[in-house]
């Protein structure tokens, strides 16, 4: 079940008693240990996870599981508050901070009996597109250690260490994506402000769902950009994402930006007839720098829909090229405001400087934040200065409306779903990635994903194929507000057509021998 099994299959195994929750938990914990070099986890909550698994086992024995998620091991990005467990946001500012409460989404998963294995690694405060800029170091893409990648990589010299060839996960939810991709958990929570769930999902070959803004509670998610942040869902297949969505969506009185409409969890139909579907291909997403491989894949996908009888048309979202600039201004402005809470007084790092409140705050923030965070705070404050407010902040808000309206026009013209690439290329090696600074990288990498955040629309990455280097390539579907069922139904149909290959991970396991042995013991 650890190999490629969807959570449904594991749930069936749990219900039928073929595997016990504690055994499943133990296997995942052991796999986390053998894949420690990926650096996907910041905190592994071994004791509490095993306790949760034991409770789940008791429920299964009584024949009273809480639901489909009961006993399922999950991981949570380290910018969600988890009661009693350290929450660091991969920053010195929150090292040692033990949350006094659970984020609503975490509480919901626990209430369904899910087993929380640990907190995953990210870029500091979710700022970045590589999961390379956190204080606990970068996350390594599990595909770096796949047979598919190794077969295609040509050693540059005899002395070149395989070690230096590893590729990034993308970000900022890289730890969560790596955790799901390497089978250490069945689902993981990420966050998505500019693409932070979809980007690493594409690079790690997993499904990454960004729900409509307002559908899932942000209470307990340490905020970056209040008007764009959403919790993201990472799983190995679209059906699993639908199940997790079903357990998380809905109004939360603790987050007044969640809509009050009644949300009904849904099961995805097995779509066979796509002839009534209209797929839009936004021409502006043929962005500069888009790799020819991805362009070809995108074209092939469009043909797939066409040949199946769907209507596939080119559409235009004319303000696309400004969305990254708009995002840059709005993001830094909201970040400047949200990061103001870190002053050392009530929680988190506190400097020894005690001459005055202001100097203590300044020293605390000097010591606690990395360059990226400080840079965004300063830029944000610049754009919010009285003399700049109208020309930058308000201007960006106006451009935001134009971007959102582009989507309204296109969907209003009869298009159901948009099909676009998720990233410009496959995952790059770490040593190459760090040659450019964080802001440049983010600007390049967020180009295809962040307009959906600007407009609040749901979007999903579906792993589609492998690149020439043997690494995952994903494509993105963008849907209409609160039409997750339609979005996921189409995504599931597409997933079935492309049959993305399973990762052939080559890892030595600690107490169960070689990973290959585990394959024969699986039961999916």
């Amino acid at each position: 079940a650890l190999k490629g099994g969807s959570r449904f299959q594991v749930s069936a195994a749990l219900t039928e008693g073929r595997v016990a929750p504690t055994e499943l938990c133990q296997r995942c914990l052991s796999l986390i240990k053998s894949t420690k070099f990926l650096n996907a986890y910041i905190t592994v909550a071994e004791e509490t996870a095993l306790k949760q698994a034991e409770e789940s086992e008791k429920r299964y024995r009584r024949g009273q599981p809480l639901g489909v998620l009961d006993g399922i091991p999950i991981a949570v990005k380290d910018n969600f508050n988890t009661a009693g467990i350290e929450t660091t946001c991969a920053s010195n500012m929150l090292k040692g901070y033990i949350s006094p409460y659970n984020a609503t989404v975490v509480q919901k998963l626990l209430d369904q009996g899910a087993v929380l294995l640990g907190k995953t690694n990210l870029d500091e405060f979710a700022m970045g597109s590589g999961s390379t800029d956190g204080v606990f170091g970068p996350v390594r893409n599990p595909w770096s250690y796949s047979r598919q990648y190794k077969e295609k990589s040509v050693p540059k010299s005899h002395s070149e260490d395989e070690e230096s060839n590893w590729v990034i996960t993308g970000g900022s939810s890289g730890g969560s994506a790596a955790a799901v991709s390497s089978f250490t958990c069945f689902a993981a929570l990420g966050s998505d402000t500019g693409g932070s769930t979809r980007n690493p999902a594409a690079h790690c070959g997993v499904v990454g769902l960004k729900p409509t803004y307002g559908l899932i509670s942000r209470h307990g998610l340490i905020p970056l950009v209040n008007s764009m942040d959403v919790p993201g869902i990472l799983t190995r297949c679209v059906d699993d994402a639908a199940v997790v969505l079903g357990s998380l969506a809905g109004h939360d009185p603790k987050d007044s930006t969640t809509i009050q409409d009644n949300f009904k969890p849904f099961e995805l139909p097995n779509l066979t007839d796509v002839s009534k579907l209209s797929i839009g291909i936004p021409k502006e997403y043929h962005a500069p720098g888009l790799s020819s491989e991805i362009l070809a894949l995108w074209s092939k996908a469009a043909d797939l829909f066409k040949n199946a009888g769907a209507k596939v048309i080119e559409v235009s979202l004319p303000h696309t090229r400004y969305s990254i600039v708009c995002y840059h201004v709005l993001c830094t402005a909201e970040v400047a405001s949200n990061m103001a809470r870190f002053d050392g007084l009530e929680y988190g790092h506190r400097s020894d400087m005690n001459k005055s409140t202001e100097s203590m705050y300044a020293a605390t923030r000097r010591e606690g934040f990395n360059d990226v965070v400080r840079g965004r705070i300063l830029s944000g404050n610049y754009f919010l200065l009285k003399q700049n407010y109208e020309n930058y902040f308000i201007k960006a808000q106006k451009v935001r409306r134009l971007i959102a309206n582009d989507f309204v026009k296109v969907f209003g013209s009869g298009v159901d779903i948009l099909l676009t690439p998720t990233t410009l290329s496959d995952a790059v090696p770490y040593i190459e990635f760090i040659k450019e600074d964080n802001r440049t990288r983010s600007a390049q990498d967020d180009i295809l994903t962040q307009a959906a955040n600007m407009a609040g629309l749901p979007a999903i990455n579906v792993p589609t194929g492998l690149s020439e280097r043997g690494l995952p390539l994903g494509l993105q579907f963008i849907g209409q507000s609160f039409q997750e069922k339609q979005l996921l139904t189409v995504a599931k149909w597409f997933e079935k057509q492309v049959k993305f290959p399973m990762i052939q991970l080559e890892v030595k396991r600690h107490d169960h021998g070689a990973f290959q042995h585990q394959k024969s013991a699986s039961f999916s």
Partner: protein, 108 residues
């Protein structure tokens, strides 16, 4: 050049975060340059958008106490405290002026 030492100093005061080095200042300059592209867009007659949910009303709950009594929990994460108080250094003391504080901007 709109990014003068006065502006940088002002920002350090507002943000209570420092530029640290020349790279930090350059980072800001590049950020502004990048943001200036916004001015190419014609936004005549366009209203600023605060939220994608602007057509809906924010949820307001009843003004009833539903939770609390967690003083001990909340104080756990604070480093300096006395009884039920968070302890701060003396307030109303402005950050030292540019010449007097430890900042990269000094001598710019």
């Amino acid at each position: 050049q709109k990014v003068t030492v006065e502006v940088l100093d002002h920002l350090e005061h507002l943000a209570l975060v420092d530029f640290r080095d020349a790279e930090g200042v350059e980072r800001l300059r590049k950020a502004i340059q990048f943001a200036d592209q916004l001015h190419e867009v014609n936004t005549e007659g366009v209203e600023p958008m605060d939220s994608v949910l602007e057509d809906r009303c924010l949820y307001l709950r009843e003004d009833d106490v539903t939770e609390g009594n967690c003083t001990k929990e909340l104080l756990k994460n604070a480093r300096e405290k006395v009884e039920e108080y968070f302890v701060a250094p003396p307030g109303n003391i402005p950050l030292p002026k540019l010449e007097e504080r430890e900042t990269f901007l000094q001598g710019s």
